[in-house]
Amino acid sequence: MTATGAQTPAIRISNLAFAYNGTPILEDVTLEIMARDSLCIVGPNGGGKTTLLKLILGLLKPDQGEIEVLGQAPEKSRLRIGYVPQYARYDPQFPVTVFEVVLMGRLDRIFCGTYARADRQAAESALAEMGLTDLAGRLFAEISGGQRQRVLIARALAAEGELLILDEPTANIDAASEEHLFELLAKLNERLTVMLVTHDVGFASKFFKSIICVNRQVVLHPTSELTGELIRNMYGGDIRMIRHDHRCSPEGHCDHGIS
């Protein structure tokens, strides 16, 4: 893990705009995210959260403006990012073991043949950190959703990046797994910048130092500022109901007259 000083920005975005088929998705985005921050990206469905994520990962190119991640262009810095996609998008029958999935975090280090001992050790310690050592030989398809989620985090850790990005990690997992997930993330945040996408506004304030609201425009707030008024501004004025308690519907709160 490279030591990045707390004052260097992990992500710097200036005047960015992105349109898809002529429809503007993101406009005039300027953003600076500090290293070792813990952020939550929230916003309604279709508001541009996933697009922002893909721009940061370098999977999409901005139409205008610039992005710098860890001081480099996104295509260059992506190897230093630990990315955790949604586990539910995987083929449930794919024959791959947990250990093989975690080893994929080291994919950039081999050209052909087998992984080096250092790669296997990195994968083993990532599994151990996630408490999954016993599952190493099991099929990825056989284990529970919460466990799969942790395997994907272990894979991101095996890559030994400085920035951990998780896409909707709380979708489709039960409350106990979710609580466990946030304990793990809090620990990882001691050495990594942690960024998480969710459409579940309710829990956001509880765990994160900052929150990024995305709805075509992008605004960064310290979580202490997150108020009903702010959310109303972000989602538009016609909200009938927003619930702030943590334990309502697992689909989140955004669908009640907002999106």
Partner: protein, 282 residues
């Protein structure tokens, strides 16, 4: 027993060739078939296989009509057509934003149509049936060497880049984020699939080669823990299907291709049925 005696009989070399081709090609079939089944691209492999007929037709036409070109025969035609089809279909599947299946279906039919047109215009009577459904009488010693070379190539590449292919099949986006040129590996995998398809066209024919590519891997998936095991098991199943199919077809005077496929199909249905029963019990 009769089959074993026939194998040893120097007067009928084609049976030995067929078995040798089958066993050698099983390696490539087990490995590539596993990727195809795991990545769920059976229909893409099917389209490639049918495009092979275009190349076979062109090869026959060049050989018979344009007399001088002897080096370009049905087998080299098949290899060229299969690789070409793999790259075109691969690019379509990578870049088509919608109606990918329609485009691939069209290529599937166009490839076959071109082949049949060439065969129709080739002087002398050529039976397209033998290419569509396989005819072990057509296997020569030269074919055997070609199969050996292709097989070696496929097995070596597929094994060397096992981890890359695994990652590209399992999670293409993540592989790209780890710096892997996923488009290139996807196209390479399709090209290997194409070469694998060419390997067994003589034995089971174009129409049924897809069944032999996917059924052993599908049966293996019922027992395997992980991709690597699935490859080994699929190879063994493939050898068993081809061996027993050739033996039965010889003993009962049946066409080899359909016999092999019916055996593979029955075992697949049996394995899948047993698995269903077992999961229902639990």
């Amino acid at each position: 027993m009769e089959f074993l005696e026939a194998l040893a009989n120097p007067a009928i070399p084609f049976l030995r060739y067929a078995l040798a081709v089958g066993i050698l090609a099983s390696l490539a079939f087990g490995i590539i078939g596993t990727y195809v089944v795991a990545r769920r691209i059976t229909y893409i492999a099917g389209a490639i296989a049918h495009c092979v007929l275009g190349g076979i037709g062109a090869g026959l036409y060049c050989q018979h009509k344009l007399g001088g070109i002897t080096w370009f025969g049905p087998l080299s035609g098949a290899i060229v057509a299969a690789l070409l089809a793999a790259i075109i279909i691969g690019l379509v599947s990578l870049h088509a934003s919608q109606r990918e299946d329609t485009a691939i279906g069209a290529l599937w039919a166009i490839g076959m149509a071109i082949g049949l047109l060439f065969i129709a215009k080739t002087p002398g009577y050529i039976e397209p049936m033998s290419y569509l459904f396989g005819n072990i009488l057509l296997i020569s010693e030269f074919d055997l060497w070609m199969v050996l070379a292709l097989d070696g190539l496929v097995v070596v590449i597929a094994t060397l880049f096992y981890h890359k292919f695994l990652a590209v099949c399992f999670d293409e986006e993540y592989a790209r984020l780890r710096g892997v040129r996923t488009d290139l590996y996807y196209l390479l995998l399709l090209c290997l699939t194409a070469l694998t398809v060419v390997l067994l066209v003589r034995v089971v024919g174009i129409v049924m080669v897809i069944a032999l590519l996917t059924l052993p891997a599908a049966v293996a998936s019922n027992f395997a823990k992980g991709l690597w095991q699935m490859m080994v098991l699929a190879t063994l199943f493939c050898i068993a299907f081809i061996g027993s199919g050739l033996a039965l077809s010889y003993s009962f005077d049946l066409p080899s291709g359909p016999t092999i496929i019916v055996i593979a199909g029955l075992v697949y249905l049996l394995a899948t049925g047993l698995r269903q029963l077992r999961t229902r019990k639990n």
